[in-house]
Amino acid sequence: MRAAANGQPVISAQDLRKCYGDFAAVDGLSFEVQAGESFGLLGPNGAGKSTTMRMIGGVSQRTSGTLAVMGLDPDDHGPEVRAHLGVVPQQDNLDEELKVRDNLVVYGRYFGLPLSYLRPKADELLEFAQLSDKANAKVDSLSGGMKRRLTIARALINEPRMLLLDEPTTGLDPQARHILWDRLFRLKESGVTLILTTHHMDEAEQLCDRLIVVDKGRIMAEGSPAELIRRYSTREVLELRFGSQRNTTAVDELRGIGDRIEALPDRVLIYARDGEAALEEATLRGLHPVTSLVRRSSLEDVFLRLTGRSLVD
């Protein structure tokens, strides 16, 4: 806990770059993460989030820039850095040849931990992951949500100070996602630093104290979810659907309503402090949308504002 005690960042990245040939997957990222913080990288697929995670874990060497994870350079000290990390990859890579509980014990052996520690720890983690009754089951008999929880339990076997979660709930049904979020929230409360990538804004809003919005390998904005929404969006958003043919022509007629209008292929977004008032004004102008919806601004709107594109394609 050296880094935490001194109030130094557990991750410090300056001008981090990763190029594949001419293509820069990560193009000059600079950020710091404090101990105990829950830090997110929000961006669309291909923004360079996973590559950044791999560089933090020392399994991908950076092209340039500096990076320190708990004071160590992961390129030079891969095994040492990873000894304090828990890694939850985007796709589950559980050991299908081993049973559920053995997955935890064997993974702990990879860290060189003794069985006397691992046996009780594995049982404790199975309980945490709500998988105690599956201890001797085969991995391929588990549901998607259970596999995800087992992967997270596995990442905790070495009592890491920092957990790297790459798209932790992508592909899960809503109920499984909420169970998982609850587990992650408990970890955060117990003081584990969480670093997560996601392209789901609700996940970022639920879990992140602070996040960076990443697009094409660059940082577009940084702050807490609430700050970002305040800075880059209005309080409310009015969503109108006129049918795919009418959306573009409707934009001209809506001009002047709210602070800003954004025309998407399937709907028109009107950013306003008061969404209901904006809807009333649109109706007064004789516009009759097929559907209308007033909602609070979200990180999705922040992303749209910053990049001109929506987050989930």
Partner: protein
């Protein structure tokens, strides 16, 4: 941050001195799922020995052994079959098995997100391949002795020699596998192995071939293994024995360097 000398840095990123965790995992996985493959691997050369050695041997009769003495046909092909089985076992473990774990099971990806480095993984996997090779070799040598096909106490050295052969094929095989991307490419390995098995003086002496073909076969690894084990089985040695051993030592070295470099490129680039 203090920078260490370049070689020390590279080594620290590659190796954590914990290959035994990879070995432990392999043994546990074998216990729970792979043991049928293990058993079939033992019977394959035994079946060849029974059908070719005893069956075909009845037609062939006695043949000329490594030192010019007369030996039975079964005694002639038995060490060759042992060399082939050492090759096959090592190649299966280090190619198909590694390919599957690398590409589909993502096993190495998960191992390398822990304290393990690529060298831990390579050493562990190769050790497992050799352990299996040693088990097969012990079993087959016991069968040879029981059938009276190994006439010299030197024959006990067949076991470590078979492991040496397996080591050569395993380390080179793992390096080559790291270049493979699809199952179609994996088939090339069979395309090389089958002719090598049939033509490396396995079932008849090398001198039936024209000189050029002899040179080609002598350049390939299996022939050296067959000759080495054949000499050991009767306890007759020549300067060529040292050449055979040296051939495998070089093969192991080249294979290990290639494998480590490739794992580094694949997983730490």
């Amino acid at each position: 941050m203090r920078r260490q000398p370049a070689t020390a840095r590279v080594f620290r990123a590659l190796y954590s001195g914990n290959a035994r965790a990879v070995i432990g995992r392999g043994l546990l996985a074998t216990r729970s799922s792979n043991w049928m493959v293990m058993v079939s691997g033992f019977f394959e050369p035994v079946l060849y020995l029974l059908s070719m050695g005893l069956g075909l041997g009845a037609l062939v009769g006695a043949v000329e052994g490594p030192a010019g003495q007369e030996i039975s046909y079964a005694a002639y092909i038995a060490p060759a079959l042992l060399a082939v089985s050492a090759m096959n076992g090592a190649v299966y473990d280090s190619t198909w098995n590694v390919f599957f774990k690398m590409t589909f099971a993502k096993l190495y990806e998960s191992m390398l997100s822990t304290s393990l480095g690529p060298l831990d993984v390579a050493i562990g996997e190769i050790f497992l391949a050799l352990l299996r090779g040693a088990l097969y070799a012990t079993g087959f040598t016991a069968v040879m002795m029981a059938m009276g096909l190994a006439t010299s106490p030197w024959a006990l050295l067949l076991i470590p020699a078979a492991v040496l052969i397996a080591f050569g094929f395993a380390s080179l095989g793992m390096g080559i596998t790291s270049f493979m991307k699809t199952f179609q490419q994996m088939d090339w390995i069979n395309f090389v192995m089958l002719p090598m098995f049939l033509f490396s003086a396995t079932f008849y002496p090398l001198d039936v071939y024209p000189q050029v073909v002899q040179w080609i076969i002598q350049a390939l690894p299996l022939w050296h293994g067959v000759e080495l084990l054949r000499q050991l089985s009767v306890g007759v040695f020549s300067p060529a024995t040292a050449v055979h051993i040296l051939y495998y030592l070089v093969m192991i070295l080249v294979g290990m360097v290639l494998t480590t470099r490739r794992l580094r490129q694949l997983f730490l680039s």
